[in-house]
């Protein structure tokens, strides 16, 4: 099993202290597996815990409870030092291309940083022969290597960020909203790059985004998160063609349709109200406060993940 799955997450829980005795329930009991060479998309609104989930998996945060198994190795409680060699297998692409690159470093130094950190090259100069092809691969040129990150446009920066994440040839890349800060005309460039690299190297992505159409396009499997819970997970076409969870339905109905004729026919299917505070999440199913189909039971018992047929997993009392 484990040699098939690059990543296995079991009942992952991450709580943050929020001053005093308050606890933010960022991620609560999330489980999924990611097969080698595949892409798993995680979608949800801001505050649903998808980013915390990613950052806990990559052990930027310590795990509160549960297990993270990377390529058959349990990394849940590893010390940072033990983890270091494993970091080569697991890299991350960040949301904000402005904040994620150090403005005081040249592009070459930024891309060479992982090489130096893992002792693959000793000197920055020696990194050139690895850095240049990478730069060209992401559509930039050698001349860009000596420029500083602050001189680049958002899309160019994001490609530098991708080059940094991919230069170690990782097996798993966690993409934390890699396109949401980019202009529409640039997003497709980045998505194509990621897809090409996957085809070439057979790596796996954990792709986090709130743009549902993009997630569907890149992912093999999609998980929908709401307030720290994973509410539905299945094959990506299935989730869009046949959403089961009321939240998934609402989310899909909220996507603006880039077609005025269809948009006019669209019925109002969106979800009313706001996402509750993760400090005091609702009892039972966390979505029941906004759910149009809520039953009394929903406010009391937390629904378990069930197979609704064909590997379509959903956590809802309706099924």
């Amino acid at each position: 099993m484990s040699d098939q799955n690059i990543l296995e997450v079991r009942d992952l829980t991450k709580h943050f202290k929020a001053g005093g005795k308050q606890v933010v329930h960022a991620v609560d009991g999330v489980s999924f597996t990611l097969a080698r060479g595949k892409t798993l998309g995680l979608v949800g609104e801001s505050g649903c815990g998808k980013s915390s989930c990613a950052r806990t998996i990559i052990r930027m945060y310590d795990v509160t409870a549960g297990q993270v198994i990377l390529d058959g190795t349990d990394i849940t409680n590893m010390k940072q030092k033990e983890l270091k060699p494993l970091r080569k297998k697991m890299q991350m692409i960040f949301q904000d291309p402005y904040a994620s690159l150090n403005a005081r470093m040249t592009v070459r130094d930024i891309i060479a940083e992982p090489l130096i950190a893992h002792g693959i090259v000793k000197k920055k100069e020696a990194a050139n022969e690895l850095v240049y092809p990478m730069l060209e691969w992401v559509g930039l040129t050698k001349e860009h290597a000596n420029r500083y990150a602050h001189e680049f446009s958002g899309g160019q920066r994001q490609r530098v960020g991708i080059a940094r994440a991919l230069i170690l040839q990782p097996e798993l890349v966690i993409c934390d909203e890699p396109i949401s800060a980019l202009d529409v005309s640039i997003q497709a460039q980045v998505i194509n790059l990621l897809k090409d690299f996957q085809e070439e190297k057979g790596l796996s992505y954990l792709f986090i985004a709130h743009d549902l159409s993009m997630v569907r396009y890149v992912s093999d499997e999609v998980g929908v998160m709401y307030l720290g819970h994973l509410v539905e997970i299945c094959e990506s076409n299935e989730i869009y063609d046949n959403p089961l969870h009321p939240y998934t339905k609402g989310l899909l109905g909220s996507i603006p349709i880039a077609n005025p004729k269809l948009a006019r026919q669209k019925e109002k299917s969106g979800i009313e109200g706001d996402i509750p505070s993760p400090i005091h999440p609702p009892q039972g199913c966390r979505f029941h406060t906004r759910c149009p189909f809520a039953k009394p039971e929903c406010g009391e018992v937390k629904p378990q993940m069930k197979d609704a047929g064909g590997g379509h997993m959903v956590a809802c009392h309706l099924y």
């Binding site: 950052r55 990559i58 930027m60 983890l83 270091k84 970091r87 080569k88 697991m90 890299q91 991350m92 960040f94 949301q95 904000d96 904040a99 994620s100 690159l101 150090n102 403005a103 005081r104 470093m105 940083e113 992982p114 130096i116 950190a117 893992h118 559509g139 930039l140 040129t141 001349e143 860009h144 000596n146 420029r147 500083y148 602050h150 001189e151 680049f152 160019q156 960020g161 940094r164 170690l168």
Partner: protein
């Protein structure tokens, strides 16, 4: 004529061309800095002061400690009486001596006293063979030639021997000013350097470690900053003895508190930045995160704090010197010069005015530079 409908060949280089000038971050800061007149003025003043303090002593024939008791309290601009023979001028000092002044403004020695006629409040001096009388019974003093014609102070001349005059011990103020500025700047730079090292290490560790370590370290800083600064410095001076070394030690061990706070604040906010998180996920060591990411990015605010700390250290040194617990004579610092000048403030205000002016200049210059740096480093102003 070429076909205007021919396809335009755009290469990837054209599409990804960077239009911004290739400037490093420092270059960018310098670009904005030099477009601010006050900052440039401050910068020029600092450079001139440094030249003055470091190179100046090589161009003066006096030493900071050599006394010339014949020529005491001579101002930079003298009210002089023409000598009866017209070959030069005479200047009356505060201690009722008469000093010979050559036509070109250089000073000769004191005139020889011939006799004292105390009953008529007169002193008779020998001026190139003729006798002149100084009548000190009334103010302003009067001089008379042998024919008892009253001599009037006919003109003002600039002191060419001692451009800025002499002090109460007949030392050249200009030379002492050079050494004084040198001492003040040195005290400031060394103290700030000490600060910088302690502050960056202390603040860096505190900010990066966070949690309990941070809390404890910051409480230490709080405690130190509640001790009245002057009192503490005076105590250190008492223990270590007065002198340059103890001033530096005193200032160096106190001012780092501000620096540590600044560094900690910066590191605290920077370590949550995505590029630092990225470095962590890459697997970079703590050392390289600190050296490559945190410190360079915090350098801007550190630099601003430094330029603001320097004038405050200079002022503190001057203040201590003024209180008389700074440098010991004959060493000069701007503060001790001010202190010396207070004795005869009424008759020789220039002795206080000149070093005070230099202190003001230094403070202004560094504050302007600090201000300019802060604006130049502020990314919000960058468009």
């Amino acid at each position: 004529m070429e076909n205007r409908w021919e396809m335009l060949e755009s290469s990837n280089e054209d599409r990804e061309k960077l239009w911004k000038k290739n400037r490093t971050f420092a270059g960018d800061v310098w670009f904005r800095f030099r477009h601010k007149p006050t900052a440039i003025a401050g910068f020029v003043i600092i450079v001139l002061l440094l030249l003055f303090a470091l190179a100046g002593p090589y161009f003066t024939k006096y030493s900071y400690s050599a006394q010339n008791l014949e020529l005491v309290n001579i101002p930079p601009r003298m009210k002089v009486y023409e000598a009866p023979d017209g070959t030069g001028y005479m200047y009356i000092t505060q201690s009722l001596k008469v000093v010979w002044v050559n036509k070109d403004g250089t000073l000769g020695g004191q005139l020889k006293k011939v006799r004292e006629e105390s009953e008529s409040s007169m002193t008779i001096f020998d001026c190139n063979g003729t006798e002149v009388a100084l009548y000190y019974g009334v103010k302003p003093y009067m001089m008379a030639d042998p024919e008892t014609r009253v001599l009037y102070p006919t003109r003002h001349v600039f002191n060419k021997s001692y451009t800025l005059g002499t002090d109460s011990l007949g030392r050249d103020i200009l030379t002492r000013l050079m050494y004084g500025t040198r001492v003040s700047l040195m005290v400031a730079f060394v103290a700030v350097l000490v600060n910088l090292v302690i502050g960056i290490i202390f603040g860096g560790i505190s900010g990066y470690a966070g949690g309990t370590v941070d809390t404890i370290m910051m409480r230490i800083v709080d405690i130190i900053s509640t001790i009245p600064l002057t009192l503490y410095v005076i105590l250190i001076m008492v223990v270590l003895g007065t002198g340059l070394k103890s001033i530096i030690v005193a200032l160096g061990t106190v001012y780092w508190v501000d620096m540590a706070r600044v560094v900690r604040g910066q590191v605290l906010s920077l370590r949550e930045q995505e590029f630092v998180l990225a470095a962590k996920t890459i697997g970079s060591s703590t050392k390289s995160i600190l050296v490559q990411h945190l410190i360079p990015n915090a350098m801007g605010s550190i630099l601003v704090t430094v330029t603001m700390l320097i004038p405050s250290a200079i002022f503190m040194e001057a203040f201590l010197g003024f209180l008389g617990i700074g440098l010991q004579p004959p060493l000069a610092s701007l503060g001790t010069m001010c202190n010396d000048a207070t004795e005869n403030l009424r008759s020789c205000p220039y002795q206080l005015f000149i070093p005070a002016l230099v202190i003001c200049l230094i403070m202004f210059a560094f504050n302007f530079v600090g201000d300019g740096l802060r604006d130049a480093l502020d990314p919000k102003l960058k468009k």
